[in-house]
Amino acid sequence: MPAHKLDSATFQPFETDFGIERELLLQGIRLKYGYDFTNYTESSMNRQVEAVLKKTNFKTPLELLDRVLKQRTFFDQILPQLLISTSEMFRDGAFFRLLRNQVIPVLKTFPTFTIWSAGCGTGEEVYSLAILLEEEGLLDRATLFATDVNPKSLRSAKDGIFPADQMKVNTRNYVEAGGLTALNRYYSSDYGLIKMNKELMRNTVFSEHNLVTDHVFAEAQLILCRNVLIYFNRALQDRALSILAGSLARGGFLGLGSHESVRYSPFASRFEVVDEKWRLFRGN
């Protein structure tokens, strides 16, 4: 096919050369390693690439691309920096209280059920879920799937080791979430680190899953996908929401981040709002 110039009516040039080079870097990563960041939200991706440049002392995304293509270990090193991962246990205590009050009673009606923590990062969310289920006497009826695109995060999630200085916030969240005992009953501390009780993960399966490139994952009664979709542009959000909708059992619950919504997607009609403030939805 002969080369042709793109239609000037629909072609939107990038504002900056940095934007073009960022796009080439992401295409290179996609072609070489299969991680597809090309439909991530531009602004935050710009900032992540800038941060990686600063840290690695490369001047431009193109220089970075050259190194990324030549050295797998270098790519493995920068991958976590491209993926933003911030989490706390029982993050938004009120949301977890809502799970306790609205979702747990429904889960109690099932002999067994499945929960999917999509984009579990380093595991704070899935430990919180396990504690909630343990306190409600439901952990042994549950299968929890904890998935993330980043294998490094999954490994530390499995290890269940966290900096002790995070536990102050986590404990406050736990109390706000209506925790029944004390959070420190679920971990042991040593040398500035804490280790979560292994028993909590007895029914949890950790697995790599990519909402960008993979497909429907499980049939779950509850899916949590909180502060993951914000990093996707509208088109990619639609794709991810179709996977989440397809992985939800009839009448199952979906929890999003406090400022995320299904409102803007074509799958909006597949969900009913259970709680507007804390973004809890139910599949119909």
């Binding site: 934007g19 935050s44 900032r47 542009n233 803007y264």
Partner: protein
């Protein structure tokens, strides 16, 4: 991106920190109804329980204040507030997006992050307004807006409750106007009516 100069600015981007609540409240109170461009505000606020912004900034019929939601599209008449603990960016596809990457100037949301994204998306179709604040967030972002051809406004340091933020912008470059809130309201009203070509180029 198509430039619609006849409708005045496509976005008013406001950044404020300490002392900003009063300033924003006052500006929203005196801004005439004829100013219909969407207003998006990044104000440093502590993370805590969800806030009722209409209570804080004063409810006014026809100008309801909403907290941002990821991928929301600003529409005429909207006043949209950033959410505590999330960076807010304006994307080239017209949406607003949220992110939890590292704080900038100890702030999330950061005004620099927001203004820089507006410079890349709305560019010359935007007006940036930096108000009262006790830190240096926003100055660099306002410079990005200036270079992108946006109109840049800084609250008069003599009027601002905290002059650090306005002064830090003034130390960095010369914005288009240094205005009191009353002057800014008049200026913005004029912007809307005069059909001024905002798409002028700067070097």
């Amino acid at each position: 991106m198509e430039t619609s100069v006849s409708e005045g600015p496509a976005l008013l981007a406001i950044g404020a920190s300490a002392g900003g609540v009063h300033a924003i409240r006052e500006l929203l109170r005196i801004l005439p109804d004829s100013f219909t461009a969407p207003i998006v505000i990044v104000q440093h606020l502590p993370r805590g329980p969800r806030l009722d912004f209409n209570m804080i900034y004063g409810y006014r019929p026809g100008r309801r204040i909403v907290e941002v939601e990821d991928k929301m599209v600003p529409r005429s008449g909207d006043v949209i507030m950033a959410a505590p603990d999330y960076h807010l960016s304006a994307e080239r596809d017209g949406t607003l997006s949220l992110s939890q990457d590292a704080p900038v100037h100890y702030s999330r949301p950061s005004i620099d992050v927001f203004f820089k994204s507006v410079a890349l998306s709305y560019g010359p179709r935007s007006v940036g307004f930096l108000m009262s604040g006790a830190n240096h967030d926003g100055a660099e972002g306002l410079l990005h807006l200036h270079r992108a051809g946006a109109v840049t406004l800084v609250q008069d340091p003599k009027e601002a409750e905290n002059a650090t933020m306005p002064n830090s912008a003034l130390a960095l470059f010369e914005p288009d106007h240094v205005l009191t809130l009353a002057e800014a309201a008049r200026f913005l009203k004029g912007r809307q009516l005069e059909n001024e070509n905002l798409n002028r180029r700067r070097s």
